[in-house]
Structure formats: structure tokens, C-alpha cells
């Protein structure tokens, strides 16, 4: 194991970097998309609502791998071509948007209606009420589930391996076939994934503490 780390650490580091980029970017896309979808589903008229609903069900209901293959292999057929890393970011990001929208939607529905009424009674529009009253509280409530999602995404970034994106899994496989030290290599990978997940949840706890409303227990 030490041999693997000491000899191949530049590969592992490169892989970690790519995995991180995929996770971070797709998570950001998912977060922004999730908020937009959640707001849209609270507002838009029927047809658009149904479209959003279909989007969510479609991306939740199909394996992420299929979505990734679709972006990487099927879209070029119609002339849209992305490199492996970008494909992974797009596929995982779209998938995550579907999940994150659900997390935010359920958090939104837990905001006391009295506060919404109070905002309306001041003359705030529906959108302002959403942006200034409902959403800031919903995001706080959703932090634990949104953290879960980030950890999931970091692990799921490994499926980018199937479209040859040089992330951690891909690098591991490369080292393993070269050295035949399969067990050692995959143990090292597992340890990296765990370590990173622990760091992520630590960061999330920090954010949660920073955003905590004094005297308020969720």
C-alpha cells in the first residue's frame, strides 16, 4: 500500500483533483438547478409544473450511468459533443438538480404558513416572499440532506470512469493494471473516498453552525 502511494501519488492526486472538479461543479449545477426547479414548481402554471415534475421523475427514476452514457454517447449522434469530464459534470449535475429540488421542496413545505401570511400582509409579492422568507429558512433546514447529496456526488463521480474521465477511479484502475496490486490500490482509493467524505461533512457542519439562528432549534 505504501508502495502504491509513494510511487503513484501524482496519479492519485490528479485523479482526486478531477473527481473534486466533477463533484464541485455538478453539485453547484444541481444546487442552482434544484432551487430553480423547487421555486418553479411552487409558482408556474400547470403545464410547466408538469414538465418540471416529469424532469424530476425521469432523472430520479433512471440509473445515473444511463444518463451519463446518454450524454456521452447519444448526444454526439445529434452533433452535441462533450469531453468525458464535461459529460460527467452535465449528467451528474442534471441528476443532482432533480434530487436537490426535492430536498428543497420538502424543506419549503415545512416553513410555517403564518410567516408566509405575514409577508403577504406586508405587501410582499409571492416571489419576494419566496426569496426573502421561505428560501433562506428552507436551505437551513435542508443542509443535512444537501450535505448527504454532496457526499453521494463525490462517490458517484467515480462513474465518470466509464466514459474515461481521468478521475480517481480511473487512475486507480490504471495503477492496478500496471502493478497488479488490485487489493492495495482499491484499499487506498476507498481510504481517500472516506477521508474526503469526512472532510465534506465537517465543512457542512461548520456551515450549519454559521447559519444557525440564535435561540432557534430546528
Amino acid at each position: 500500500m505504501l508502495y502504491v502511494i509513494s510511487k503513484y501519488w501524482p496519479f492519485l492526486l490528479e485523479g482526486l483533483k478531477t473527481a473534486f472538479i466533477i463533484t464541485f461543479t455538478s453539485y453547484t449545477i444541481g444546487f442552482a438547478g434544484g432551487i430553480c426547479i423547487a421555486i418553479a414548481r411552487a409558482f408556474l402554471h400547470k403545464v410547466l409544473k408538469i414538465i418540471m415534475h416529469i424532469y424530476v421523475e425521469l432523472f430520479r427514476g433512471t440509473p445515473m450511468l444511463i444518463q451519463l452514457f446518454f450524454v456521452y454517447y447519444a448526444l454526439p449522434e445529434v452533433g452535441i459533443k462533450f469531453d468525458p469530464v464535461l459529460s460527467a459534470i452535465i449528467a451528474i449535475g442534471l441528476n443532482s438538480a432533480a434530487y436537490q429540488s426535492e430536498y428543497i421542496r420538502s424543506a419549503l413545505s415545512s416553513i410555517p404558513y403564518g410567516e408566509i401570511e405575514a409577508a403577504y400582509s406586508l405587501g410582499l409579492t409571492k416571489l419576494s416572499t419566496m426569496l426573502y422568507i421561505a428560501l433562506p429558512q428552507a436551505i437551513r433546514i435542508a443542509i443535512p440532506t444537501l450535505t448527504n447529496e454532496a457526499i453521494y456526488l463525490f462517490k458517484y463521480s467515480s462513474i465518470a470512469y466509464f466514459v474515461t474521465a481521468p478521475e480517481l477511479m480511473y487512475m486507480g484502475k490504471l495503477i492496478a493494471t500496471r502493478t497488479f496490486l488490485y487489493v492495495e490500490v482499491y484499499t487506498v482509493l476507498a481510504m481517500i473516498y472516506v477521508a474526503f467524505s469526512i472532510v465534506l461533512s465537517g465543512v457542512a457542519r461548520y456551515i450549519e453552525r454559521r447559519l444557525q439562528i440564535p435561540g432557534y432549534i430546528v
Partner: protein, 255 residues
Amino acid sequence: MVSKLLVVEDLWKFIDGKPVLRGVTFDVNEGETKVILGPSGAGKSTLLRCINLLIMPDRGKIVFDGEDVLRKRDIHSIRSKIGFVFQHFNLFSHMTALENVTLGLTKVKKLSKHEAEKKAKEALIAVGITEELWNKYPAQLSGGQQQRVAIARALAMEPKLILFDEPTSALDPELIWEVLNVMEKLAKAKMTMIVVTHEIGFAMRVANEVLFLDNGVILERGAPEQVILSPCNERVRRFMDRMKYVYNVDKGYAH
């Protein structure tokens, strides 16, 4: 001449097919305090919510400040002229007391942050919320303090009318006193108010007129002494007898 600020005419509201308001008619003059009494489920809260369109009435007419409210498309500007104080305060729990009061000023009235804070602080001082509480969050305040911040939030918008929906029902007696005290001051300063409450002592002292609502209908209306102490309607008399028993009004030491 006193002008009519609010005219409610033959107001009906059905919820799940059941009539909650059945042809309510009344009006409010500028500077007047109306108190609405009545049992739970009488439609008191629904009536208040219909006035600022938190609930859309099904039939009838509401004229506020010379405008036919139900015909108007911009309900937000109507609402910004009508304050609303809720039974459960409904402060925005992620904002400090000061931020709660400033929000409407910056987002609805589009005041600058500086101006909004100045106005908000004035309103907070007017309801007796002093500086050390301005940066506290709702969960760090007592019920009475929260309700006073909520009154300041309504007051800062400089409304023409404030609606109170059982503002003291969720408070213990000492805190009730501090909230009623603020409301009484408002009434003395000629703020136009409609107050749904069970505080008949408050009604006796402050109300220009008392309306008794039961089952979506105004059963009796008149001066507070008349409606509370010697009602004509049998149903109202029964209600008042029990209220007097609870509050000991006729022995003269309510509040």
C-alpha cells in the same frame, strides 16, 4: 366630517362549500377602533383575512380608502396599507427584530436601508422595544416582546388601518397587559383598528363600537357598554355572561 375608511358590504365566504361568512356588513370610520367579539369558529379570523385579501371573499364588496378592493388588480399595494397582527406573532424567525421591521420598508416601500432602519427604530421604540433587543432573534424574545415587534412591523409601514387577530390569545396575563397597553396607546393616537379579541376589558375601554359575530353573521352591534353589559340578543347574552364570569368584569377588577 368623519370619512369612512372601510366599507364592507354583504360579504360572503364559503370554505369547502360551507358558508363561513354570511352577508357581513359594517363600516369603519377613520380613527375608530372596532372590536369584534364572538365564539371560536364564528368567522372572525376569516373576516379579517378577507379585508386584506389573504383570503378572497366569494361575494360582496369591500371599499377601502375609496377603492373597490376586489376589483383592484394590485393587491400588494392594498395590503401594504393595511397592517396585520397575528395571534401567533408570525415573526420571520431567521431575522432579528430590527430586520423583521425593516423588511417591508425596503422591499415593499423601497426605502433605502438607512431610512428604513430609522423608521423601524422609531416604530420599535413606540411599542417599547428598546435598543438591546433590536438584534435579537424572535426565539430569543418573550411572547409579549415578539407581539410588540409584530405590531412595530405593521406600524412602520404607516398603514391606514391595522387588523388585530386575537393578538393576546397566545400570551400569559402579564404579557397580555404589555401588548394591550401598546394597542391602547395606538387607539388614543387615533390609529384606525379592527381588533378581534376576547379581552372585553380592553373593548370596554377602547372600542368605539363592538360587533358580535357568530356563525358568520353579526348578531349584535353597538357601544361596548351595551353589547357587553346589556346585550339584547339571547345568544350574545349567554356568551357575555360566561365572559363576565371568566373576567369578573361586573365586580370591577378586570385588569
